[in-house]
Amino acid sequence: MPDIVEIHDLRKAYSDGFEALKGVTLNIKKGEILALLGPNGAGKTTLISTVCGITTATGGSVKVGGHDTVLDYRAARSMIGLVPQEINLEPFETVMSTVRFSRGLFGKPKNAAALEKILKQLSLWDKKDTQIRALSGGMKRRVLIAKALAHDPRVLFLDEPTAGVDVELRRDMWEIVAELKADGVTIILTTHYIEEAEAIADRIGVIAHGELLLVEDKDKLMARMGKKQLTVQLSKPIDALPASLTSDTLALSPDGESLIYTYDTRAERTGITKLLSDVAAAGLVLTDIETSQSSLEDIFVDLVKEGAV
């Protein structure tokens, strides 16, 4: 897949000296969903704002569809749709008028059929003549998406699109994103919800303190950095691990009631068989066994804590 967004050494420093972006380089493939994860103040929104032209970069360059966002901003911006983090809408406008305005702003001629399709896709068609102020928070978020899609963008930035929305609406959003991807739209979303990135992203980028810590295929990242753990519940708590069981990958839980064994599923041998026989040989009686896999959230927390990959 060719790169549709090319960000090279992008920097943003404010007049007070604060560096929000410290030389971010990132290429985004056409048609993919990239999730940008990062704690508050990491630089996610600044990165999006700079690419979209809302914030002026202090260094580096951005190309969208091969068009420089400064030198050839008209062509570049025409390809971009942006759904901001905040619900920024004129309260007294109707859904249709605000969506129509967005389309016009991007120089696209009136197209009632196209707007109808978008509003129907977002379950907003029956609200088309309703004033924004009369809509629920979830509906307003949909209007923001409709506005961003009104000019048929090829790259869509979603800045925390599901922040503060209920689970049902979040899942609806994921479906919408999946449909857009099917239509060939490249999607870059920032989110605090790791499960969101885990559920819909093709690649994951982790950003902290204005630096991109990593960008990797989600499945590869999970496989590379994801740990699997086997928890063995004991019938009676013990004070310490028997000498025969001492290992770097085996630990006793703080309450002494279970053994926690960390292993790699991709290794030739996981060591589970040997562990269980050693446990039996040590005279320990088991009551239960369970396995768990570290989530993207665990990986993200580890990465941000370390500050580097």
Binding site: I54, T56, S78, E86, F92, F106
Partner: protein, 253 residues
């Protein structure tokens, strides 16, 4: 040029105006009527003619200018400040439009609204006083130029303002006194010599004088000077707006 974007901004702003058409229409008609009742009939009947014109008719150009200038500023400043206030300005900044297109849309709409109010006041004036417009084309030229130039100025105020209080500050503390002291209700020649000199530093004097000339053929300053003054003010405002969009001052981080 992205003309579709210009037209979209213009229509969007005009929709806001027509949404409150009753108050947009009633308010200037009512206030102008009150001015004519008080200054034209009650006080004006006891005032001698000014430069051969009845006082009621004399104040018509000044009243129109007073409303047109304040309306131009308030419409244009609110037009750009409101998107800043509620956050929808991101859409403008991320759209494939340049500053000329944004200004054409917002300032065009604000100037149209002010022009509309100006025409309403003129029409209202015909109910109260006998007036003839000696130079109708120049009257339209002055009216349009004033609407445009002060809408540009209002646009700058809207970008500068950080809150609603600041939005009102310049019109209230600077523009209104300048308009009142700019000869809206009197001829500059009626002032003592010192104040006549001081008045020539008031840019609004040139607008009202030129506009009044288009009605009655009499002016406080030469017509060309008035034209140069308003053209210079327009050019200055445009230069400031160009600089704002070039640097992103108060609009782009």
């Amino acid at each position: 040029m992205n003309w579709i974007a210009v037209s979209s901004i213009y229509k969007f702003e005009m929709t806001r105006f027509f949404r409150t058409i009753t108050q947009s229409f009633v308010s200037p008609v009512l206030s102008t009527s009150l001015y004519f009742v008080v200054f034209g009939a009650a006080i004006g009947s006891r005032i001698q003619e000014v430069e051969g014109i009845s006082y009621g008719a004399f104040i018509v150009p000044g009243l129109i200018m007073l409303s047109v200038i304040t309306q131009s500023i308030s419409n244009a400043s609110f037009g750009i400040y409101f998107p800043k206030f509620i956050g929808t300005v991101f859409e403008l900044l991320s759209a494939p439009v340049n500053f000329i297109e944004i200004v054409l849309g917002y300032v065009g709409a604000a100037a149209t609204k002010a022009l509309f109010i100006g025409v309403i006041i003129l029409a209202t004036a015909f109910f109260f006083v006998d007036i003839t417009i000696q130079h109708p084309v120049w009257m339209v030229v002055f009216l349009v130029l004033t609407c445009v130039s002060f809408s540009l100025f209002g646009f700058i105020i809207g970008i500068w303002a950080g809150n609603f209080e600041q939005l009102q500050l310049v019109p209230l503390l600077i523009i209104t006194p300048l308009v009142f002291l700019g000869g809206s209700f009197y001829s500059i020649s009626m002032l003592p010599p010192v104040w006549q000199v001081i008045s020539h530093f008031n840019p609004v004097v040139y607008l009202i004088s030129g506009f009044r000339w288009s009605f009655f053929g009499a002016a406080d300053v030469p017509i060309l000077t008035s034209l140069f003054a308003i053209a210079g003010f327009t050019a200055l405002c445009l230069a400031v707006i160009w600089w704002i969009f070039r640097t992103g001052w108060r609009i782009r981080q």
